[in-house]
C-alpha cells in the first residue's frame, strides 16, 4: 500500500527534491484514483469526505493556554457569516457558494528565501505538528466580532521547520486563484489572488496559527478550507484563507486590501480602537449575538502578549 505511506512521510524525509517530485506525481496519481484511501491517514486527511459536504471530527486536538474563556459564538455564526469575497461579497455567500469547493488534494508551495522550497501536500505539511484548539476573539475591520474555537498548528513551528534564510524578513501568503470554483474571482472587486503578509517576528509569535479546523472539526470551505491564517490581534482580513503559497521575502508584501484602498487599509491591520477607519469608528464593536456594542480593546485584547512587537512604531501611521 504505497498510497497509505504518502502522508506518513516525515518532513525531513521529503526535502530532497527528487523524492519530493516523485511524491508529487504520486499524489496526482492518487488523486486520480484512490483519494479515499490516503484520506484516512493524517488527522486533516480524515477530512476528505467532509470536503464533499459532511462534517468530520479532528482527532487528538490539544487544549491551549492561549484560549479565551469567553462565550463561544454558535457554529451557525462562525460558518454562516463570513467575509470570503472569493465566493461573493455578501456574508452568506461563502456558505452557499463554497459548498462544492474542492479543497483536497491540496498543495502548498513554499518559495523565496527559505532552505526548503517546494510543493507540499497539505497532509504532509500539517502532519509533523500536533493540532491545538485555540479559542480566539475575531475582530472584523467592519466593527463586529465573534469568538471562534479554531483548531490549528502554531505558525512559528511551521516556519521553523521550513527554515527561512537569514534575509527573510516577511512571510507572504497567497490564496488559490481558481475563478471556475471561486465565482467571486470573476468580478474584479479585489486584485486576485488574495495576498496577505506578516513581518517575520509577527509570524513567529506564538498566538499566530495556521488553522485547519474549527469546533473540533475539519475547516469548512466558507472559513478557508483546507488551511488558513489566524492572527487574533489583527483585523480579520489578515486571516487569509485557502492558502496555496507561502513565500519568504525581504520586502514588505502588498496585501490585497491595502492595494485596493491604501487610505483605509494598511499592512499591519492591528486592531486599534484609537485609529478609526476613515468611514467609521473602531472604538466599539458588536459581538455577534449581543445587543449593545462593546468597547474594542487594543490589539483585540491581546496587548499583553503582542504590544512589544510594536513598541518602536507609530501605530497611527503604520495602521
Amino acid at each position: 500500500m504505497l498510497i497509505r505511506k504518502t502522508p506518513d512521510i516525515r518532513y525531513s524525509e521529503v526535502t530532497p527534491k527528487g523524492l519530493y517530485l516523485r511524491r508529487r506525481e504520486f499524489i496526482h496519481a492518487a488523486a486520480a484514483g484512490a483519494i479515499g484511501a490516503a484520506a484516512t491517514l493524517s488527522p486533516v486527511g480524515t477530512a476528505r469526505a467532509q470536503a464533499q459536504g459532511g462534517r468530520a471530527k479532528l482527532p487528538n486536538v490539544r487544549k491551549s493556554a492561549f484560549s479565551t474563556t469567553e462565550k463561544i459564538n454558535p457554529y451557525e455564526d462562525v460558518t454562516g457569516y463570513n467575509n470570503f469575497y472569493e465566493f461573493g461579497t455578501d456574508k452568506d455567500d461563502p456558505m452557499r457558494n463554497g459548498q462544492k469547493f474542492i479543497s483536497r488534494p491540496w498543495t502548498i508551495r513554499v518559495e523565496g528565501l527559505v532552505k526548503t522550497p517546494g510543493s507540499y501536500d497539505i497532509d504532509t505539511f500539517v502532519k509533523p505538528h500536533a493540532l491545538e484548539e485555540r479559542i480566539y476573539r475575531l475582530r472584523c475591520v467592519e466593527a463586529w466580532s465573534m469568538v471562534i474555537p479554531w483548531v490549528g498548528i502554531p505558525l512559528a513551528d511551521v516556519i521553523k521547520r521550513l527554515e527561512p534564510l537569514p534575509g527573510a524578513q516577511f512571510v507572504e501568503f497567497t490564496t488559490l486563484l481558481d475563478p471556475k470554483q471561486m465565482f467571486g474571482q470573476r468580478i474584479p472587486v479585489l486584485d486576485w489572488p488574495y495576498i496577505e503578509g506578516l513581518r517575520m517576528d509577527e509570524a513567529m509569535h506564538p498566538l499566530a496559527i495556521l488553522a485547519v479546523g474549527l469546533y473540533g472539526e475539519v475547516l469548512p470551505n466558507q472559513n478557508g478550507a483546507p488551511i488558513r491564517l489566524v492572527v487574533p490581534w489583527k483585523y480579520g482580513f489578515k486571516g487569509i484563507k485557502s492558502i496555496v503559497r507561502i513565500r519568504f521575502t525581504d520586502k514588505q508584501p502588498r496585501n490585497s486590501w491595502e492595494v485596493a484602498n491604501p487610505r483605509e487599509y494598511g499592512f499591519y491591520a492591528n486592531v486599534n480602537p484609537t485609529v478609526d477607519h476613515p468611514r467609521w469608528s473602531q472604538a466599539s464593536e458588536r459581538r455577534l449575538g449581543e445587543f449593545l456594542r462593546r468597547k474594542t480593546l487594543m490589539f483585540n485584547g491581546y496587548g499583553d502578549q503582542v504590544a512589544g512587537l510594536y513598541s518602536a512604531m507609530d501605530l497611527r501611521r503604520a495602521f
Binding site: G80, Y85, S281, A283, F291, R293
Partner: protein, 202 residues
C-alpha cells in the same frame, strides 16, 4: 379605472412586504447572525428603491399618456420616507441604543452618515407637505419645494456608494437608474426651452 385601482392596491401591499418580512425574519432568526446590520441594509435599500420608483412615475406618465399614474407618486414617496424612518430608527435604537454622543460624532465625522442624515432631512419636509391641504396652501411653491426629491435621490445614492467597501455593483446600478430618470427631466426641460430661444433668434 378598475385596473388602475387594482394596480395601486397591489403596489401598496407589495411595499409592505419588506417591513413584514423583516419582522418575521428577525423573530425566526432568519435575519442571520447580525440582524441589526441586516435590518439596516434592508430598510436602506428599500427606502432608496421607493425613492427611485417615485421618480419613474412622471416619465412613465409622460410616455404612456396615462395621467392617473400621478396618484402613485405620493404613495411611493411616502413609502420611501417610511423606510427611511425605519432605517434611521434602526441606526439610533438598535445600532447605537441612544448613544447620542457617538451618533453625533458619526454625523459630523463620517461623510456617509452626514449624507444619510441630509437625505433624511430633505425627505422630512416633503413628507409633511404631501397632504392635500399643504398642496393647496403652497400652490406653485409646492412644486418647487418638491424638486428637493431630486437632491434627496442623489444624496441617498452617494450615501450608498460611500457605505460600500469595494463591490460597487449595486450603487452603480442605482446611480445609472437615477441618471436615466434625471436625464429624462433634463432633456424635457431643454426641449421646452429650445423652441423659445430659437424663435427669439429667428
Amino acid at each position: 379605472m378598475k385596473v388602475f385601482t387594482l394596480l395601486r392596491r397591489t403596489i401598496f401591499a407589495a411595499l409592505l412586504v419588506p417591513a413584514a418580512a423583516l419582522v418575521y425574519w428577525t423573530l425566526t432568526g432568519e435575519a442571520g447572525p447580525n440582524p441589526i446590520d441586516f435590518i439596516t441594509d434592508t430598510t436602506g435599500t428599500t427606502a432608496l428603491s421607493c425613492l427611485v420608483l417615485s421618480l419613474t412615475v412622471t416619465p412613465l406618465r409622460r410616455l404612456s399618456g396615462r395621467n392617473e399614474l400621478i396618484k402613485l407618486r405620493r404613495m411611493l414617496g411616502l413609502y420611501a420616507f417610511f423606510y427611511a424612518c425605519l432605517h434611521v430608527l434602526t441606526w439610533s435604537v438598535l445600532d447605537w441604543f441612544f448613544d447620542w454622543e457617538s451618533m453625533a460624532a458619526d454625523i459630523v465625522k463620517r461623510p456617509f452618515i452626514t449624507l444619510g442624515m441630509t437625505t433624511f432631512l430633505l425627505l422630512l419636509p416633503l413628507a409633511i407637505t404631501s397632504t392635500e391641504g399643504w398642496i393647496r396652501r403652497l400652490g406653485r411653491r409646492w412644486t418647487r419645494l418638491h424638486r428637493l426629491v431630486y437632491v434627496a435621490a442623489i444624496t441617498a445614492t452617494i450615501h450608498f456608494w460611500w457605505v460600500v467597501k469595494v463591490d460597487f455593483r449595486q450603487p452603480r446600478l442605482w446611480a445609472l437608474a437615477l441618471s436615466v430618470l434625471l436625464g429624462f427631466r433634463a432633456w424635457w426641460t431643454l426641449q421646452a426651452r429650445v423652441p423659445r430661444s430659437s424663435a427669439g433668434s429667428a
